[in-house]
Symmetry: C2
């Protein structure tokens, strides 16, 4: 099979596979809906034994990378590249975590779309024969995100009803040409989309148009429709953003049904006071690398369209009156076939 | 020729080429050593007609991308992907610039190594057949970097003698499998290296060990030595960092001679009061995309080893007492052969 390229979607001919994965979360996530599925839960300490939340986030990425490499039954030497990114300024969680590994490193940034950006790029690099095996990772931490993007935690600010709760967690995947595991069939790279939202407490609304844009493009490029997937999973649109996406898709002639889910809506329980749901790079990273990977590995899911969305703002852009552009990247992952 | 992979270096079999380039700089750079070579100089206005320096930096990236696409004689539709990154928090210069182009976008971050990180990744993606043509870009602005990483400009702080001057400029390259131009032969992806420097006003010293690490690896992987290159060009080590690199390389048995240059040392004139020289993503991006590309296109340079270095810190990591890890990525670019 030749590599076919159709507009924004890249198809892989050499079957890049996810041969290892890991998810690590904090106490609140460990009490949520997916508590049975995470690889590791720190039940008591969202500082992970560190003095600052930033160092805690770094530890989560380190453990996620470490855990995924172990899960793949490989040694550090077998990993040719670490590709990671996160929400903190200058992606320090990723870069400092990469310092602990004697492996070449490239930093990527797509805000909360980073997990899929890394999976998509890694699949290209592995498929193209440039790297055998790549470790992808991303993270977020409620307390680092709050104080960097919003207010000091100590202020105890009231949260607006459209706000989401940044997931404290990290996820990692080992993408390889060798070994066995769910295959990455294709990737759709998204465009920056801006519908003019400037409410930084309504990220779901800012990201939904980008999600629609990439999703419609994906269906057209691959000549598929929502019913062709066991699961269509968005990253962290949350309750409001998901509803907007469903509406926008309906306007475009696509009906998202019961096979559509959003990581931000399923990670926490209804009574956990998270308003519109979970968010952050760690949201899609930990949901995908827990229950979704489990069901891909068991063959329960045969075909999952995993699309993470990112809001490409900073505090500076908001302070200068800029609206919030969004982006969404998607990969199609095929479950393991049981003979 | 099969793709050979040797440790950290990736060789390209399908001859990815740089088929278009552009550099844009501000007034100070426009009075420097390379004033004859830049594609565009804004002589009077480092705000580029904008209300804030951050918006000015964004305009530079937009113009660099636009100029490089025009230089390649392609249309926007021919560009399959924009890959960009910069120093600002959440790489807003790149993401907001990408909003102006109706082209898929991936953000990357390697601090001041970003230009080479983007070139190396793009060469992989183009070589692997996943994208025909990719536009890479990066930028920095003295005034956005100063107020984000150091002090408000209005304070008029004295600059320590080891400090460097962030270049106001942006550069862009079009990497393609089609067309003609200097070829990217191989890329060496660097590891995060930390020698324990914690002086944020001495980036050259923090980055030199990473430069040494990647350079030694590159020579070993490719079985070459410094004399095999017409030019070995580092990104922005500056005067002190370059001297440290020369010493570190000598300890490893490699003598860097007259064919070794640093972008930070050549961009400004001696009397421009820039202490250790230029720095920032825009430093290597504008030097490479002016005089170096000119000499690669004319065939004066036959083989250039272009290695940009990045300091992977943030103000938060510094405030929390972390040392400054560095990284360096390298590409080998072959000049156009004149029959």
């Amino acid at each position: 099979m030749k590599i076919r390229r159709q507009n924004q979607t890249v198809f892989f001919k050499n079957e890049p596979k996810i041969i290892g994965h890991y998810s690590i979360v904090g106490p609140k996530e460990g009490k949520g809906n997916l508590r049975k599925y995470f690889s590791e839960i720190n039940k008591d300490d969202d500082l992970f034994g560190q003095k600052t939340y930033e160092k805690a986030e770094r530890v989560m990425i380190e453990r996620a990378l470490d855990g995924a490499i172990k899960d793949s039954n490989l040694k550090y030497d077998d990993i040719r590249l670490v590709m990671a990114g996160d929400l903190l300024n200058q992606i320090i969680s990723s870069s400092y975590a990469a310092r602990s590994f004697d492996i070449p490193y490239v930093g990527v940034f797509g805000a909360c779309s980073t997990m899929v950006e890394a999976l998509a790029l890694s699949a290209c690099l592995v498929d193209g024969g440039h790297f055998d095996t790549i470790a992808c990772a991303t993270s977020s931490h409620f307390s680092t995100a709050e104080r960097q993007f919003r207010f000091p935690l100590e202020l105890g600010n009231q949260r607006p009803p459209t706000s989401q709760w940044t997931v404290t967690g990290a996820g990692s995947d080992i993408v390889s040409i060798k070994g066995s595991g769910p295959k990455i069939l294709c990737a759709t790279f998204g465009k920056v989309t801006d519908y003019g939202i400037n409410d930084v407490n309504n990220m779901g609304a800012a990201m939904a148009p980008a999600a629609m844009n990439t999703l419609v493009t994906h269906f057209k490029d691959t000549n598929t429709s929502p019913k062709d997937y066991d699961l269509i999973l968005t990253g962290d649109l949350g309750k409001l953003g998901s509803e907007i996406l469903i509406d926008l898709m309906e306007d475009k002639g696509y009906k998202l049904g019961l096979n559509y889910k959003d990581c931000g809506q399923i990670i926490f329980k209804r009574n956990q006071d998270v308003l519109m749901g979970g968010s952050g790079c760690g949201c899609s990273a930990t949901v995908f690398n827990s229950i979704i990977m489990k069901k891909l590995l068991s063959g329960e899911y045969k075909k999952v369209l995993f699309m993470a969305t990112g809001a490409l703002l900073s505090t500076t852009s908001s302070q200068q009156g800029d609206t919030v552009p969004g982006i969404a990247h998607a990969v199609v992952v095929e479950g393991v076939k049981n003979e």
